[in-house]
Symmetry: C2
Subunit: 396 residues, 2 copies
């Protein structure tokens, strides 16, 4: 149990679809005036006023001081906007990312801003061990929150693989060696808060769409480059889950002229060339240097060591081709290329953009590529975002 007290009044109540839309708009696009909320949701101003009233009472939405006079010259006359925004600390959320060797948890507010971080190494990936670690991380975060834990609305858990968010069961996770492991129920029973389990890339995509670069995009993709390579899609204003729980498998597509054999046993996979491990191996092989980290390999490439430069170029080419596939097939307006803990994007970026441009067809070439380094905590933040979205959409 985390929330020893009531915890009941932490629930978000947004009865109608319209109020969900209104609240979502304020959450993701606030501070914002009521008229703009109405325009952007297709509802009347009156509906906004009436929906927001109880939320103001609850304290989850606040009105900023009208910014009169602050806009100095040539400002339009008239009553100034009373900007609405969601109060981040009005509700709290936990997000936990499960890695094979470690569990990382964060506590965040309503806008997925990180308040606390707790990490715990994992000796085994057995369901019992993982559930224990996740629960203990959550409980520690609960202690860190103190009194505020009564405002907790739930726990999001991000796991790699095929996850059924509706039942909270991990159907298949090759990375953890799991098949059909129920995760949400045992955790919810132990912690006493709603638990949502989601695929890690999907969760990250939700975070970026609601709180990151995808905020104004109705058609958005996230490509993650790390030890594996994945892809999350947000199309038609909804996250793509795949009929069988998985979508966005990008690392093992049969791509052009990639000769390296992948861990999956096939040739031509992007992961076999562009995953952090693959780049590291390629640089090691080409330079005979006893490298330990990717940062060291990047150092060699920056110095211009040919083998290292070639390895990064090959990776960039593969990534660029993969991005072109995503853009051509799904037509997003924005693609975020994110790598965990990577400061090495400048080494890839030119190659990525060149290859992408060479393979993007027609209007797909108009797609904006955004590259960004990620921290490990961002995955846990994604888990929190997935729970926030579920809570806002009244899915539990």
């Amino acid at each position: 149990m985390i929330a020893t007290g009531t915890g009941e009044d932490a629930r978000l109540t947004l009865r109608t679809p319209a109020s969900v839309d209104i609240f979502t708009r304020i959450l993701t696009h606030g501070p914002i005036g009521r008229i703009d909320v109405g325009r952007q949701t297709g509802l009347s101003q009156a509906a906004v006023t009436k929906t927001v009233a109880p939320l103001l009472l609850d304290g989850i939405v606040a009105v900023d001081r009208p910014l009169a006079g602050t806009v100095p010259a040539g400002a339009a006359p008239g009553r100034p906007v009373h900007p609405l925004r969601v109060v981040p600390s009005a509700r709290l959320v936990l997000g936990v990312k499960v890695n094979p060797d470690e569990v990382i948890g964060v506590a965040t507010g309503m806008t997925a801003g990180i308040l606390h971080v707790v990490r715990r190494p994992l000796a085994s990936t057995s369901p019992a061990a993982v559930i224990g670690a996740v629960a203990s991380v959550a409980e520690e975060l609960g202690l860190l929150l103190g009194d505020r834990a009564s405002r907790l609305i739930g726990l999001g858990v991000a796991v790699s693989g095929d996850v059924d968010t509706a039942t909270g069961i991990v159907r298949d996770s090759p990375l953890l060696g799991w098949r059909g492991v129920p995760l949400a129920h045992p955790l919810a029973a132990r912690l006493g808060v709603p638990v949502r389990v989601d695929n890690d890339v999907r969760a990250l995509t939700i975070a970026e769409h609601w709180f990151g670069v995808g905020r104004d995009s109705g058609s958005f993709a996230v490509v993650t480059i790390g030890s594996g390579i994945g892809c999350g899609l947000y199309l038609n204003d909804d996250v793509v889950s795949g009929a069988h729980g998985v979508a966005g498998e990008l690392g093992h597509l049969p791509l052009a002229s990639l000769d390296a054999v992948c861990v999956c046993g096939r040739r031509g996979c992007v992961e076999a060339v562009a995953s952090s491990g693959a780049v590291l191996r390629a640089v090691r092989a080409a330079t005979d240097a006893p490298l330990l980290t990717l940062a060291e390999a990047a150092g060699l490439a920056r110095e211009g060591v040919p083998g290292a430069v070639a390895a990064f170029d090959r990776a960039g080419t593969a990534i660029g081709a993969a991005l072109a596939i995503v853009a051509n097939l799904t037509g997003p307006d924005t693609v975020l290329v994110a790598g965990e803990g990577m400061q090495e994007f400048e080494l890839y970026e030119r190659t990525i953009r060149t290859t992408f441009a060479a393979h993007a067809f027609g209007a797909a070439a108009d797609c904006v590529l955004v590259t960004r380094a990620h921290t490990f905590e961002d995955w846990a933040r994604g888990a929190a975002a997935s729970l926030i979205r579920a809570a806002v959409r009244q899915e539990f």
Copy 2:
């Protein structure tokens, strides 16, 4: 002008989103009882009764004779279901597909069943010539319909390329050599009915999702194999249009170990190996036979001529890989592989399935592949389906 009479009462009026859902359910899944409609739309039975009442009066929905007694043994007791269905002939629709050398038009009912077909060769692809040909085909179809033309709800036009359906402007169509050609307005002005212009593959995808194999799928893809190779996506119960008007570009992805140079100048494109033209060229080159048609090339392959067999196998491999990309990335439960006028699927099919299985990752392998031959008229039927969908969804 097609509808010389009123034509006004041909409009579909479905005031609320709920009634749109109810009507759509009856249209795509009828004959169906009221209770099932309620269950499947998440609405109450009462809502179904009340929504359907005016539609019965209008005549666009009919009640089949209750099938009492027809279910002989062990049938559940109780009042029998009064199955609802949409009356196909209650409204009529025109669909026209624009090819570079020909315009094909069909007249259909509400369920996109083809009533008449009109073809007209095209001497030029200039906008004026195409608009003239489309209009004349539509007018001829109007004459074929006679009195019934007053029940016409509109004209759908399917064009290859980047189409803005909201404005009816063809933004970019390499095949026709068009850029920014307004198509809907001039046609609507001349014909006096609503006109909807859509991308051809997208239109076909709508037809298959509403009236074909995708009916029970919320996550569905269509891959078209013909002179070009395309892909349409229906995810999260909505057709994917792409932020810039195009999605589903599949023919020019950089795929593994395809050496042939494509018309687009790149290597590795599926189209360079698997389009009907590419197969034909490959068989010609390998056998020195003076082949004219793909059917003749298929004949050689069936006889076991090595070069011909190899060409079809290479095409099947490329198609299978392309399907795996679609399945891995978007996770549909069903993919329809459709080729225009092709009876040669048996030659590819084994290779397609083998390659697909080899590259489909995890749950994506559960995706059901359906292969089917297409006629040229099916494209025009797709155009009609796109208009039907727009009309039902009250988009004009």
